[in-house]
Symmetry: C2
Amino acid sequence: MDTPAALLDVVKMQRNIQRMQQRANDLGVRLRPHVKTHKCAEVVAAQVAAGAHGVTVSTLKEAEYCFDQGVRDILYAVAMAPHKLPQALALRRRGCALTLITDSLAGAQAIVDFGDQHEETFAVMIEIDCDGHRSGVKPHDPLLLEIARRLGDSLTGVLTHAGESYGLDATDALQAIAEQERARCVEAAQRIRSAGLRCDQVSVGSTPTALSAANLDGVTELRAGVYAFFDLVMHNIGVCRIDELALSVLTTVIGHQAEKGWIITDAGWMAMSRDRGTQAQKRDFGYGQVCDEQGGVIEGLLLSSANQEHGVAQFDTGQVDVTAQFPLGTRLRILPNHACATGTQFGTYYALLENGDTQPWERLRGW
Amino acid sequence: MDTPAALLDVVKMQRNIQRMQQRANDLGVRLRPHVKTHKCAEVVAAQVAAGAHGVTVSTLKEAEYCFDQGVRDILYAVAMAPHKLPQALALRRRGCALTLITDSLAGAQAIVDFGDQHEETFAVMIEIDCDGHRSGVKPHDPLLLEIARRLGDSLTGVLTHAGESYGLDATDALQAIAEQERARCVEAAQRIRSAGLRCDQVSVGSTPTALSAANLDGVTELRAGVYAFFDLVMHNIGVCRIDELALSVLTTVIGHQAEKGWIITDAGWMAMSRDRGTQAQKRDFGYGQVCDEQGGVIEGLLLSSANQEHGVAQFDTGQVDVTAQFPLGTRLRILPNHACATGTQFGTYYALLENGDTQPWERLRGW
């Protein structure tokens, strides 16, 4: 196998998928995995086989891809841009139960107007802002009911995502934000229902909150993405062990700077991505945690810097004779900060199966 | 055109290409552009038409791609990993004048041994460390002559890259590092020649040093990559004006958080990359400088944060009524921190031609 290459440990992936599905089952909600992390048909199939109820996507291209794989129930969880409506309509006309989201009157109006012009009732959820992280309407904002009324028969529910959970690493804080995510989304649904409108679906989730919630009363579905692979950011947050990370980058040692204790690898940022998500966390892993070829963590050896096709690995615990210990041609694996960002640098995952075989699994790219 | 999309202003690109070619001509050296920035046949063709003498690549896949486009003289400027030698041999057997590099005895030995086994004399340059940035042998290191002797007839020259120039932003400091890059590489060549060995080629370069060097006495060729597009990092270094940036990302406004002055765009890090190269520079542009749809800079409006498919743009100069000024569906362009990293997020550039037409230019990806 040439390097750099994206390796996917399928045994770990399957355990991660089972773990999240069991969480959703225990909490009494459906699981709608976010495919943006992996963008891979085989992973979608594993999630559906484990019990997933539809998928979440971050682009309409992902929606088309999943529909072509046989997934009918698809939620496009990015606020709908009016110019993308023809693409959404085409998917619905093919039989896809596609749900859109919006958080503005202008967005709702554009969807309804386009639907009227084409005799289509789109399914739309209103995005709720539960933590000030990004998009969404606050549950108590009068705008919520205006959007709900504007959507009329298109309204199917409310959805939120506690993106701020990524900044936490303590169990009690994670439980608190999970409860905030649940409570504010349920509050929004109840306000809509109190106004005499239907609001059947209440969708919440992020990997950290999904794995921290004490209960999901009032919620109908859970969304999460990165849990299928996990990564160093999730490890720092505290929701997975480092030996649960399913994705790694296989690399080759191409040189050294012996005086400095540097190992030069052929995995630079083109392979790892520029994601430095652990920089502000309790442990900064640089561009990744270095492991041996079999995936065993080499304690203290981090990819400390990265150029396009060069990575520099060094021990944070002090210098060793890296030329002797990791001679030219040595193979290593690097665990990434952020599985979504690292995965997208590759067109193919090499899936390491339980029986020892390796299979190429293609990955969707672009928009 | 759907968004996000990578737009390439061909008029600006051509000017940038002409400028660097003129620099090389004035300095009396050949120009060997680095295709790692753009990985695009049409850009290679423009560089060759302007006078480039061969290309530099960062992967053997780029080498194969350029050879298929008719470029025969190719330098693979990453230290050769022994397991990639069969791929390099195959290229040479097809008629490619491929040059490899190494900075170790083990690397030199692997190349020579493999060559002996296959009756092939590879062309190899020794990588010189001129600034402690990454790889390479120091010019005064006794190892230099050992590697040179080990390479024997394969040795064609020395090469260096002053990567530390990316950390500078003052003219005198840039001129000093350009001179250091030149002097140390020439010193290495002279040491090899003084030992009675041939060392014909002396190759130096980076975009900042290429545009700052007072002279390149003793140098035979100049390498540079990002100059074809330029980017905000180069602007901060001081080697280009902001209106010379050829690459931008077209995006659509998909929402707002009016209270905070946030404009939500459909260009997140999946489009811009996670590169935050301006973070440590004199001006931090966040994830990019926002422009209007025609490419005019909107002063003070930066993409301040990015999730996978969401970007948050806001004015650094204070809040304005963003919902009124940038309504849902507004198109904007974003200038990237790092053209190499942003380009690679896309499979296609949309080339904006001088006559007003737009052409899709495919881009190479992967390894």
